[in-house]
């Protein structure tokens, strides 16, 4: 049984179909990049995988004991609520909640883990700062640290490099690659950076209201969809 399987899934908002006939299958340790134009349904698919939205048809199957509490999530353009008094540390630690059950406090181990994740995303020096005083990119890194804290098996990232400076973006790709290789973390990432997608990912899903392509990254580079999309994005950049 695969870690995650979509069977003939249709995603729609109030009868207006966004994606249809979507079928794919992910094994543990896969690294999937979802690419496609604005409005093609990438974020909608991520939200559906998280049970935040119901598919209007088809099935999504989770295998190998994949539960909510082993999933980490970084939302797209996650605006930290204005005027919310919360320090970076408080936010990053809140990732442990899915596993703490009824326990009313954080354990030493959980606090150490939060520290680790802050270090990995380079926000340790901001730990005591209030989140609303940080720049957009710094906030993004904080929420990324939170996502890492919640993920033990599956990490869902919706445009994680948007808003990061190029160096931080590279660092992020490296970090995720390491997690994926060493800790066998399954990663699903939405990105507009096709070059990085084919470089790092094991699989690519190209959405345009229907899945135009699903397969390995190498296969995507050979396919017509991939070739034309990459040529087009290069021409733009």
């Amino acid at each position: 049984m695969a870690l995650l399987e979509c069977r003939d899934v249709t995603l729609a908002y109030e009868g207006h179909t966004v994606v249809e006939n979507l079928s794919f299958c992910l094994e543990e340790g896969d690294y999937l990049c979802i690419v496609g134009e604005n409005g093609s349904g990438k974020s909608t698919l991520i939200r559906t995988l998280l049970h935040l939205k119901k598919p209007s048809a088809g099935q999504i199957l989770y295998g190998q004991g994949l539960q909510h509490k082993s999933i980490g999530y970084l939302p797209q353009q996650s605006a930290v609520p204005q005027d919310f008094p919360a320090t970076v540390e408080e936010i990053v630690r809140s990732a442990c909640l899915s596993r703490s059950g009824w326990r009313p406090f954080y354990t030493k181990e959980e606090k150490r883990q939060a520290e680790d994740n802050m270090r990995k995303t380079g926000v340790s020096h901001l730990a005591k700062r209030c989140c609303r005083e940080l720049s957009g990119g710094q906030q993004q890194r904080v929420l990324l640290a939170r996502a890492l804290g919640a993920a033990t098996k599956l990490l869902l990232l919706d445009e994680p490099v948007a808003g990061l400076d190029p160096q931080a973006g590279e660092g992020l790709y490296g970090l995720i690659e390491k997690l994926n290789r060493r800790e066998k973390m399954t990663v699903i990432m939405v990105t507009h950076d096709v070059a990085a997608a084919v470089k790092y990912a094991s699989h690519i899903l190209h959405l345009a209201h229907r899945p135009l392509f699903f397969g390995t990254a190498a296969g995507y580079q050979q396919s017509d969809t991939g070739k034309s999309f990459m040529r087009w994005t290069k021409g733009e950049g």
Binding site: L52, K69, I71, P85, L97, P104
Partner: protein, 286 residues
């Protein structure tokens, strides 16, 4: 002068009912400030007002049908409305603030109408004024009321401490909390219930028109001065307890209405905090 005031106070405190009222008042103030932070941050500052009007309507019903213990009527109705209103807030089709306004004026009007039509009491405007502004209600609590208030406020405080981190997560980012498998719907209902409990309690202290003051002033003052969730919660709890203690002492000594006095003290302390926040923007980094 000072000695006279102190002896007058100690005289008052000889009466057990004054001591009870004082303790209950402080507990209630503490509870409402704890939840106040969550409510202000979730943009539900006015739910206190709405719910207290519902509670007023329910109280009118209880008075008219002549129930012995009116809390038995008021409480379930208020809890149900709290859950409904918080639900409406999530539903994009029914705008939260409009729903609160609608429910609040409707129950106020119906409650007053009911009292006017069916009340046996000859002093209707006095009764209404009492429920709206709290009047001296806190000093006329029965022993059963006092124990009920005690038990409920202690329960609220214990629950809040136990679920503190979850309340933070659900307030800060509901979507993320839901995504990692926190039972957000359950916690929202839980928060709504606790809020309803606090509102019903606070009505006894300051009356239904002034409840929002207990909810928002401590939270806003704390958010002006502090920048982490924990210090905001702690400071607003201290703020609220001080305001309630000062307000009740003044009310006893000067014979002013308890609710209005507490709210006035709240307002003064808020002004001080606001000024401090402007003077020292870096006070209390964390």
């Amino acid at each position: 002068m000072m000695a006279a005031l102190t002896s007058m106070l100690s005289q008052y405190f000889q009466y057990p009912f004054v001591r009870y009222a004082f303790a209950v008042g402080i507990l209630i103030a503490l509870c409402s400030s704890l939840l106040g932070v969550t409510l202000v941050l979730k943009r539900f500052s006015f739910i206190g007002d709405g719910l207290s009007h519902v509670a007023f309507g329910a109280l009118a019903v209880a008075t008219v049908v002549n129930v012995q213990n009116d809390t038995l009527v008021v409480f379930p109705i208020t809890v149900a409305s709290a859950i409904l209103l918080l639900r409406a807030g999530q539903n994009a089709k029914v705008k939260g603030d409009a729903a609160i306004a609608m429910v609040s004026v409707a129950s106020l009007a119906l409650g007053y109408l009911l009292l006017h039509l069916f009340s046996a009491s000859s002093n209707i405007s006095g009764d209404v004024c009492g429920t709206l502004f709290g009047a001296t209600a806190i000093l006329t609590l029965s022993a059963a009321d006092v124990w009920l208030c005690f038990a409920m406020s202690l329960a609220v405080i214990v629950l809040f401490v136990c679920f503190y981190h979850k309340i933070f997560a659900v307030t800060f980012d509901e979507t993320f909390a839901r995504a990692i498998g926190v039972n957000v719907g359950g916690y929202n209902i839980f928060i709504a219930t606790v809020i309803a409990v606090v509102i019903v309690l606070a009505m006894k202290l300051v009356g239904s028109l002034l409840i929002s003051a207990l909810v928002i002033f401590p939270a806003l003052s704390a958010m002006r001065l502090y920048k982490s969730f924990r210090s905001v919660i702690l400071f607003s709890a201290c703020f609220s307890v001080c305001a309630a203690a000062i307000g009740m002492t003044v009310a006893i000594l000067a014979g002013t209405p308890v609710g209005a006095t507490i709210v006035t003290v709240d307002l003064l302390l808020f002004a001080i905090c606001f000024a401090l926040g402007g003077l020292r923007p870096h006070l209390g980094r964390a």
